[in-house]
Point group: D3
Chain length 187, copies 6
Amino acid sequence: MSLLNLFIEAGNLKKLRRSGWVLRGIPNPESIADHSFRTALITLFLADELRNRGVDVDVEKAVKMALLHDLGEARITDIPMPAQGYFDKVSGERKALRDILKPTKRAEEYLELFEEYESESTLEGKLVKFADKLEMLVQACEYERAGFNALDEFWGALESLRKSDLYPHFKDVIEGLVRARKQNCLL
Amino acid sequence: MSLLNLFIEAGNLKKLRRSGWVLRGIPNPESIADHSFRTALITLFLADELRNRGVDVDVEKAVKMALLHDLGEARITDIPMPAQGYFDKVSGERKALRDILKPTKRAEEYLELFEEYESESTLEGKLVKFADKLEMLVQACEYERAGFNALDEFWGALESLRKSDLYPHFKDVIEGLVRARKQNCLL
Amino acid sequence: MSLLNLFIEAGNLKKLRRSGWVLRGIPNPESIADHSFRTALITLFLADELRNRGVDVDVEKAVKMALLHDLGEARITDIPMPAQGYFDKVSGERKALRDILKPTKRAEEYLELFEEYESESTLEGKLVKFADKLEMLVQACEYERAGFNALDEFWGALESLRKSDLYPHFKDVIEGLVRARKQNCLL
Amino acid sequence: MSLLNLFIEAGNLKKLRRSGWVLRGIPNPESIADHSFRTALITLFLADELRNRGVDVDVEKAVKMALLHDLGEARITDIPMPAQGYFDKVSGERKALRDILKPTKRAEEYLELFEEYESESTLEGKLVKFADKLEMLVQACEYERAGFNALDEFWGALESLRKSDLYPHFKDVIEGLVRARKQNCLL
Amino acid sequence: MSLLNLFIEAGNLKKLRRSGWVLRGIPNPESIADHSFRTALITLFLADELRNRGVDVDVEKAVKMALLHDLGEARITDIPMPAQGYFDKVSGERKALRDILKPTKRAEEYLELFEEYESESTLEGKLVKFADKLEMLVQACEYERAGFNALDEFWGALESLRKSDLYPHFKDVIEGLVRARKQNCLL
Amino acid sequence: MSLLNLFIEAGNLKKLRRSGWVLRGIPNPESIADHSFRTALITLFLADELRNRGVDVDVEKAVKMALLHDLGEARITDIPMPAQGYFDKVSGERKALRDILKPTKRAEEYLELFEEYESESTLEGKLVKFADKLEMLVQACEYERAGFNALDEFWGALESLRKSDLYPHFKDVIEGLVRARKQNCLL
């Protein structure tokens, strides 16, 4: 087991489609890697923006966390919501991530990032959770703009974004997205 | 909850791709419904052939079992082999199938078919397991014929086919497939 | 020619997309096998439900008929409606099916099932025709839910479902689907 | 019925995949329009080359013929070889083409081009048939280069290219393709 | 470098998707070859119609121009509108086309056709530009009919169609398309 | 123009396929976002590994650079190698990136990262270039494993990896990949 194994296994995230979109009938939707990419990019810009405003955020940690937050799915796939009543997804994902990270020398550190993300126990954990949900809604908006329907369920995530500690900082982005949605997501 | 709900949920099997092929890089491979269809078709012909030979097989039961054998995946998806070390797939699938079948009046009867399939405890259970594996190998052969590689792992299923009680009846089919594979799966 | 040839040729049904959806611009729509699978599944549940109600239906025969009803298309493909003015589709399909079934020992019996389906001359023939059309409408509903349009033409099949001898038994399912359609096919 | 109807119906050729490739398991292969485009392009260059050499060829007629040669498939689809034993494809195609061309004022002239193509009764008919087969082999070569297999059958068309009256003019192109194929179709 | 090289490179137009549709989220949209095919077909019918009306149009020239108008994109791809502020697309396309056409003996003649198309300096140039835009709008109409949205931007091309010298000849087609669009592009 | 605009435009990277694979005939290959994701992930692990070995590398800077290195392609698309003789790609990409980054308050800082990447003028620039090429080769290996051919050209990147200042640190990974390729990229 070497880093090369890890790099190849991470390639599964390119092949696996996000199951939420698949089950709503969107043909050939984004991959998990697509989602992880933009989540990391959003994290980068939001973290730097927080720093601009004098918030003491660890940007390196946040971006790493974003890159790693779905890596466990390279092994367990994107098990959809309705399936999660039948399995303890997070527990399986944690174990899978541990195994995937074995070739690295900092597995414990990376796993700790996953835990902070899952529990939102740190500023960076909250930020990546925020970016993760925001990324999904931007994607939902894009799919609706293209003509796809029946995505209302996803917009339930708005509520948790609005309740987040980070909402006051990024109210413009979130409410801008809500307005954009009303105008068919055209900016 | 009505039969209509069940019919709509079964539609997920058309949208979900078989994860084994996805992870080996086959673009847009068969759906779970595709696989279930041919498994049921193979079951039909093998069951009738057994009956021709005087074997006392319940064809109706076998074909039903084949149609239902992956229905639980409409809710839990096709969780791939490497993920199954992190979850008890069959347990989750059983529970999901129970919930999916609630709108029917014979849920217990159908669940019993799933159990016979999983445990191969009856002739029909053995037959559908045999058809399930055979279907996968025919598909592997077709993918290899088209030019896809790295499918050796799947052919490990040959061994269990050869050990099956049904092998003596269908030796020609199985060994014909093995020969076909050597000739690039061209018949 | 052996059963293996038949199994491989049946694989064409996985590769061929249903032409009705293709011509309305749905990207990468369901395969013929996808459709056949759910038609057989619907047949199974409706047949058992009829039996529950004391109707004397041959479930085995019905499910087999459903599995075989489009098998001829493995050779002739899903020739779309507008083309059928230029060819005698059913005649060609019958001949193709006869050739496809040659490796089996019960070809005449299976062909008889196809005739009963085409002519709706038996209860099982009526049931599979009913399931075939219902399956198509459930799929239309799913595509409309996802955002696809211009599928009104398909809903003309409602009329023949309502005129079917089986309609009184499954009025709830059919009218439930009509209601679902009005609510964007969300259940 | 107006020209607009014809233009819209011709759009079907973009949606329909060439069935020969589909049945050999090539995922999402070229459309009929893709094929028709390159056939017309090849016709253009070969016709001009003939003219360069002093051959009296009607370039306009040849290119039009190439653009129209598969237009009937907008209505009847690309019925594959094995199906043609069950239907008289050319007869159906001819009738469909007649109906498609109704909005034009030169339908008879265009239908005559189709007949010359089918019967290879004129120089231009021979040329478009030559371009049609050559186009298919160039595509086969490209698919083989990408890694797809089991396309030997298509290369049977080489024989008719070599027997064509046009072969002496384009021997370099044809034999260059044969050599390219031996080098994995890399030029 | 031979004609065979040119034919193979033209195959890129089958693989490359039209970027305008890709960026609006249409899954797996038409190829450049698909578009070129129908543009040439529309050119054929419009040119013949002009001739019917006594207009002195060079049909051969027009159809050739249509077949060649996007050939440069086989090398430079379909660089989308927003990118064209950063590159001189036409200049690059011209140079690429020159290189692609090297194996032919009439490269200068073909390049001249490209220039007439780009500058609309001749009747044939105007006609192919007209057909090119009309083809795009027919496609937009088809995508809208299928349920795709956010294509308003494309319909800006209507204005240039209405200002074209050819509009008086083909007013029925253009305004028929505008009416069709209002009726969900159903004819 | 707000951050939301940037996030939406970055979504183009999910829709755009990497043109190198497209032109070699790989159906529906990875998106630019897919590639950027794994490039960033590889950068993360290699940067941390360098740090483990006492090399003074700015991990935050490196990971950000990786996330941004192809962001300009959201506007100019992935212009393929053969097109780059006709355009000054890097110049256009730089200008596009500048415009895309306008909604951020640190555009100059981010642009500087792009320059370091392009010029490999810093350790981090060298690292991301290394990760970018390594990512491509891992992907080539995966495609070859799946059965795709004609990817030799890509492996020319090996030479620049071996000449990189970082090669001594990651010789095991690079040579492991070369060995893996010889074994059909199976680990």
